[in-house]
Every structure is written in structure tokens, then in C-alpha cells.
């Protein structure tokens, strides 16, 4: 079929099952947007390209589908950079289309020219510059294949402006042939036998779940394995929701702000079974003394993750969709009574957890941020997606919100991108309209992409925005208190911005909650009402996120205690 390049892009998106594009028009993509207009292709225009890419990322995390972004050349592309890096660090599948200046203008420092494929090379799984319209169908087919298969990640397609207008005889390829990338990620089953053998010999096994369990959508099998074995379970930030929060084997998040029991279990276990985790510095503490008594098993799709940060005794290389069902089958078929074998070990961890759970001071006259999270947890119920920004509120959400299922706790884990939350919540809601979406944020983070409040209003997107407002860049201030003699260098946020007025100006209803007695009734009203709502909650300025493993310390060298 004869059509122009712009039409070919949109036809290809239809064939890939793309439901919605997040984007922002501009000079180099005028032809693309003209076809979008003619085809009435579903499109959400954010107020900034960074909002578009985070929204596509939130959509991808909530649904497991590929998020799609359109942006123009030059600044359109460079505004995507933070969002692409965010997605790349957390292995989120995106396909970003950018317009490039026309072929004759490439390399001449033309108006709105930026070498975006060069700029994003270190932060994309793959990228293309399309200069010839005939390459478009195969490039798009490949891009979606590469983004969603294997270890997922963002792919960028930069398309010269004249390519959108040029005609081609369109045919979408059936399959992808790349010699260096087949999309087959099955591995060697004997590696799984080694883990089972190690488990049979282990007295203190521990499961450590990461974001890979979510990405592979294998949490049902993982939960069954956990029930079968009965070993304690801890997670990373990205692994929240993978385990059943009501399973008493779950001891919460481990790492810098992990639970006492979770971190102690890592230090004491004799077999650590990591599923879809990459042993990042925020979960290992000082890496040489991570899990010092343990043999480490690691199930991962990415060979480069094995032995990258910690030594691995039992690697299981391959897609968790392949390895986890096999592990489950082998354990189901085994006669070993794992539950009895590790009952004492689990009792010990339970006692530790009861002795030192996540806690905070409750008898204060003010609204405690941790209590807000507990109330959000209680009031919003099942079928809720929590999205966070980055900082103290993010850690409190991780500690005190009981994520029920994977894809229901959405946060920028690896890159730690402030300003991620609001646009990501927009994407999550559009991907999962039947779920309640609650953004937990702070006055620092929300200001980084506050323009997207008007996207909420303009498209009537029902996201509840809960701002933990402590008049501080909370995490920066916490480090300044601990390590910089309380020098609040640029971390006090005593500006004049009224977030409720800001929301109102952009068309979103809002309210302040300042009194403790108002928290439950007002929060419950806000969460129950239809439509977007911003709730600005006054919390104390100097509350700490605890426990905390300071940089360069072992996981058992936590700063504990209830913060005053």
C-alpha cells in the first residue's frame, strides 16, 4: 500500500497494538501530527516532553505494554533524556519517536538540530536514525521487539523530517532477524538443579525479589515457590508487590532504608536466592560484606548482571518466564520438607521483625508522614496503584504501604528521578482506568513537573495527588543533619507557592490538611471523590527515614530508633 512515512509510523503502531501515544508536536514532526489528526490516533499531549516520556513509562509499568512517545527534533528530543534514562535504569520498555531535521540539513547545526541518537546511546537499549523511508517498517518492527523482549528497555527512533513526507510501498514485516539479538533467553536447566541442591543443603535460605519478577510477570509462581519453601522473603524497592503482603514470610524491603529484619536476614542467611535483582549499591551496603555467610544464587536474564557487583555461586541465566516455572516444578516434585527445615530460621526473623518493625512516633500532636501512608493504604484498599516521586516520602511509601500485587507500586528506583511521579501517575491511570491511582509526592518533587497538573485537568484524569509537605527537601536535609552539621544548604523550602492554589489555577481541586484530627476524614473524602484531587498535607520538617544504612557501612550497621 502506498502511503507516506508519517502514515507508516501510525499504521505500524496500530499493528503493534499501541493504544495511546504521549507526546508534544513541533516543526520536525508536523507531518506525523497531520496524519495523527487525520487518523484520530489516541494521543495525550503533556505540557512538557519530560512529562510525556514519564507518562509513557508509567503506562508501561502499570500495564506491562510498551510505552510510546512522540517528540520533535532538538529540544523536543533533549527534553526526553531524563525520562529515557529513568526507564533505562529500571528496564522499562519504551519506543520514543523523535523528529530530526530534514536529510539535507543533518550535520549543519540547523535550527532545532540535536544528535539525539548520539545523546541517548548510553541510556537506550538501542536506537536508530532513519534517513530513508523504506527502512521505517523494519526499524519500527525491530524497535518494539527489542524494547519488549529480553531485558526490556527504551528504544529511540530518530526520523528525518523529509522521511515523514516521503512515500513508500508499505508492508509491515512479520518477524525480526538480527544475528546478535534473537529474543531467545532460555538457559541451561542444570543451573536450576544446582540451586535446588543448594536449597536442600541450606539451613537458612532467603529469597530476595527484585524488579525482574515484575517485568517477567512471574509473581504468581514466585509466591507459590515461597509458600512451598517457607523461607523468609525480602525485596528491593523495585520488587515491592511481588510477594504477598499478607504472607508472614515477607519481611519487607531490604537495603539502605530497609527493615531491620530484612537486612539482618541478609547478613545471617546461608543461601540467598536473588530473583530478578541486580544487587545495586542501595541494597548491598558495603558490597564486600554483603551476605557474608551465604552462597548466592542469582536468577537473571542478563549475563552482564552475574558477578557485576557481588560474587555469584549459582547463576541461573535466562528469562524468569523460563526459569521460575521450572524451579517451581522441581520444588513441587521434591520430597524435601523445606518448611519444617527453615521454620526455626523464620521464627528468628519473625521475632526480630516484631522486636524492631518499621516504626515512628505516634503520640505527636502533628500529622506524621508515615501515618499518612498507612491511612492511604487503609483507605484506598485493593486495586490501587501507588506512584511515588523521589525522596523521603518515597521511602516511607516503600516501608508503610503494603503493595498487594506487582505493577501496583510505581517508582523511579534506579535513577531516582524527582518529578517522575505526576506524569507517571497519568500514564498509569490511562493504562489501568479501572484502578485507583494515588501519587505520593512532596512539595519538592511535584514542583519539578507541576505543569502536568493541567494535563490531569484537561484530560479529566482521575489521579489523587497526596503531597507530604514538610517545607524541606527532606532527604537532602536528612543527610545534612547526619553528615553536614545541620547546614541546610538550599534544602529549606519556605517559598510562597500555595500548591492548592496552583492546582486550582490548573483546574485541579485541592485542599490543605494541617490538623491531625482532619487527616482521616479529609483524606478519605479526597480519595473517594471522583476526579483529580490534590491533598496538601502539613508534616513535620525534621522527621527521619529510619532505619538507615549510612554509605560505606554493612547492612547490619543500621541507624535504628524511632525518630523524634
Amino acid at each position: 500500500m502506498i502511503m507516506n512515512g508519517a502514515r507508516a509510523v501510525l499504521e505500524s503502531l496500530k499493528r503493534e497494538g499501541v493504544e495511546v501515544v504521549f507526546g508534544y508536536p513541533g516543526g520536525a514532526v508536523l507531518t506525523l501530527y497531520d496524519e495523527l489528526y487525520k487518523m484520530k490516533f489516541p494521543h495525550i499531549e503533556t505540557k512538557h516532553e519530560q512529562g510525556a516520556v514519564h507518562a509513557a513509562d508509567g503506562f508501561a509499568r502499570a500495564t506491562g505494554k510498551v510505552g510510546v512517545v512522540f517528540a520533535t527534533s532538538g529540544p523536543g528530543g533533549t527534553n526526553l533524556v531524563t525520562g529515557i534514562a529513568t526507564a533505562n535504569m529500571d528496564s522499562i520498555p519504551l519506543v520514543c519517536f523523535t523528529g530530526q531535521v530534514g536529510n539535507p540539513y543533518i550535520g549543519k547545526d540547523s535550527f532545532q538540530e540535536a544528535d539525539i541518537s548520539g545523546i541517548v546511546t548510553p541510556i537506550t537499549k538501542y536506537n536508530y536514525l532513519v534517513k530513508n523511508v523504506d527502512d521505517l517498517p523494519s526499524v519500527i518492527k525491530e524497535a518494539f521487539f527489542i524494547a519488549r523482549t529480553g531485558r526490556p528497555g527504551p528504544v529511540l527512533i530518530d526520523i528525518a523530517k523529509d522521511v515523514f513526507a516521503a512515500e513508500l510501498d508499505y508492508e509491515y514485516p512479520e518477524d525480526v532477524r538480527r544475528r546478535g539479538y534473537t529474543g531467545d533467553f532460555t538457559g541451561d536447566e542444570s543451573q536450576i538443579d544446582d540451586v535446588v541442591a543448594a536449597l536442600n543443603d541450606s539451613e537458612r535460605p532467603l529469597f530476595f525479589l527484585g524488579g525482574g519478577v515484575t517485568l517477567a510477570d512471574v509473581s504468581d509462581d514466585v509466591r507459590a515457590i515461597i509458600r512451598r519453601v517457607g523461607a523468609p522473603v525480602v525485596t528491593t524497592l523495585m520488587g515491592l508487590g511481588c510477594a504477598d503482603p499478607d504472607d508472614d514470610a515477607l519481611f519487607g524491603m531490604a537495603g539502605m532504608h530497609g527493615s531491620y529484619a530484612a537486612n539482618m536476614s541478609i547478613m545471617d542467611c546461608d543461601l540467598l536466592i536473588g530473583l530478578g535483582i541486580r544487587f545495586d549499591d542501595r541494597v548491598t551496603g558495603v558490597v564486600e560484606e554483603f551476605a557474608p555467610k551465604a552462597k548466592i544464587a542469582q536468577f537473571d536474564i542478563d549475563a552482564a548482571e552475574i558477578n557485576k557487583n557481588v560474587r555469584v555461586d549459582y547463576p541461573v541465566l535466562g528469562d524468569l518466564r523460563w526459569s521460575i516455572p521450572i524451579l517451581k516444578k522441581k520444588l513441587d516434585g521434591s520430597k524435601a520438607d523445606y518448611r519444617a527445615g527453615c521454620a526455626e530460621w523464620r521464627r528468628k526473623m519473625t521475632a526480630m521483625n516484631e522486636e524492631k518493625p518499621f516504626s515512628y512516633k505516634k503520640d505527636t500532636g502533628v500529622i506524621m508522614p508515615q501515618n499518612v501512608i498507612e491511612e492511604v493504604d487503609r483507605l484506598s484498599g485493593d486495586d490501587t496503584i501507588i506512584v511515588t516521586d523521589v525522596g523521603q516520602h518515597q521511602m516511607w511509601a516503600a516501608q508503610f504501604y503494603r503493595a498487594r500485587r506487582p505493577r501496583e507500586f510505581i517508582t523511579s528506583g534506579g535513577l531516582g528521578t524527582m518529578g517522575y511521579g505526576l506524569p507517571a501517575a497519568i500514564g498509569a491511570k490511562l493504562g489501568k482506568k479501572e484502578k485507583k491511582v494515588v501519587l505520593i509526592t512532596s512539595e519538592g518533587s511535584i514542583m519539578m513537573n507541576c505543569q502536568e497538573l493541567s494535563t490531569l485537568a484537561d484530560y479529566d484524569i482521575d489521579v489523587k495527588v497526596v503531597v507530604l509537605h514538610n517545607h524541606m527537601l527532606g532527604m537532602v536535609a536528612q543527610w545534612q543533619r547526619l553528615f553536614y552539621n545541620r547546614h541546610y544548604s538550599e534544602s529549606e523550602m519556605n517559598g510562597h507557592t500555595d500548591l492548592v492554589k496552583l492546582a486550582d489555577a490548573m483546574g485541579v481541586a485541592g485542599c490543605h490538611i494541617t490538623e491531625k484530627r482532619d487527616l482521616v476524614p479529609m483524606l478519605s473524602d479526597a480519595l473517594a471523590r471522583g476526579g483529580a484531587m490534590l491533598v496538601d498535607i502539613e508534616v513535620p520538617p525534621e522527621e527521619e527515614v529510619l532505619p538507615m544504612v549510612p554509605g560505606g557501612k554493612r547492612l547490619d550497621e543500621m541507624v535504628l530508633g524511632v525518630s523524634e
Binding site: 541518537s117 548510553p122 536514525l129 549475563a303 552482564a304
Partner: protein, 167 residues
């Protein structure tokens, strides 16, 4: 103790592939001694020869896995682990006057190098060999005035009939 390893990286011959490979090596903080690239027996495959230095085999495995992860990379082979031949080409431009020319030619002959360009003021020496041999001729000739040097970086093939792509 850092050890040098010769890796053969077979890649799809696509725009930007050399940048992808060299960029990855630098941003992962691996140490690269030399890199060279050229066409192969297959028209759509480029062979990138990379000499990296690494502290141990684990670090080398990291380099290999990170390289293999690139979509354009078809195969990464540690040629150093096989019986192999390494060669490098060097061109050396040396000032040569009527007084020094004979001595320089002498050195060239000792190394079985070639003189490939002569002018009244200089000669250009071409030598192919292993890194030690090239270092040695540069050392020997440095008594005279070296104007400039161009080296290709090392390339290597394993001995015997099996190509890297089938290893």
C-alpha cells in the same frame, strides 16, 4: 596486576556501531589499550579488535558480557585464550639527512622493515609485527628525529582452521 586481553568483537556493519562499542567500554570504566575495526569475509560483518586490560578473569567476563549485550554485537571472542597470531602495522616518519640515511636504512634492514617513502629530508618506515617488535624499532630509531608515528592497533587471528564466529 593488569593483564592484556585481545577480544574479537564481530558486529553488524551498521552506522554508529563503533561508537556504541567504544562508548560502552569507556562508560563502564574498562581500560582499553587499542581498538581497530575493518571489514571481514562477510560483507555485512565488521570485526572490531579490542585490546583491554583487566585485573582478573571476572573483570574480563564483565567486559565480554557488556559487549555481547549490545544489539549490534554478534559475538565476542577472547582470542588471547586461544593459540593466536597478533600483528600491528606502524608507519614512522623520520628526519633523514645524507649523514644519517645509511644508519637508518641499516636499522630498517635489521628489523626487516621497509622504506615506503623518501624525500631529501625524511624517510617513512613501514613495519608489521607484534607489539614488542614495533616498540623495539621505535626505540632504536629514536636516536634520530622521529617526526610522527601512526599505528593501527593490534589485530589477531587464532591459529588453525576455526574462525572466531564458530568458537
Amino acid at each position: 596486576m593488569m593483564k592484556k586481553y585481545m577480544l574479537a568483537v564481530l558486529v553488524d556493519n551498521r552506522p554508529g556501531v563503533l561508537t556504541h562499542v567504544s562508548g560502552l567500554i569507556s562508560r563502564r570504566a574498562f581500560n582499553i589499550e587499542s581498538i581497530s575495526a575493518g571489514y571481514t569475509e562477510e560483507p555485512d560483518v565488521t570485526r572490531i579488535n579490542v585490546v583491554v586490560s583487566a585485573d582478573n578473569e571476572t573483570e574480563l567476563e564483565q567486559v565480554k558480557h557488556q559487549l555481547a549485550k549490545l544489539v549490534d554485537v554478534i559475538k565476542v571472542v577472547n582470542v588471547s585464550a586461544t593459540e593466536h597470531i597478533t600483528r600491528e602495522l606502524v608507519l614512522i616518519k623520520v628526519r633523514a639527512t645524507s649523514e644519517t640515511r645509511a644508519d637508518i636504512i641499516n636499522i630498517v634492514n635489521i628489523f626487516r622493515a621497509k622504506i615506503v617513502d623518501v624525500s631529501p629530508a625524511n624517510v617513512v618506515i613501514e613495519l608489521t609485527g607484534g607489539q614488542k617488535k614495533i616498540d623495539a624499532i621505535i626505540e632504536a630509531i629514536s636516536d634520530y628525529e622521529i617526526i610522527e608515528i601512526a599505528r593501527t592497533g593490534a589485530i589477531a587471528l587464532s591459529r588453525g582452521p576455526i574462525p572466531a564466529k564458530k568458537m
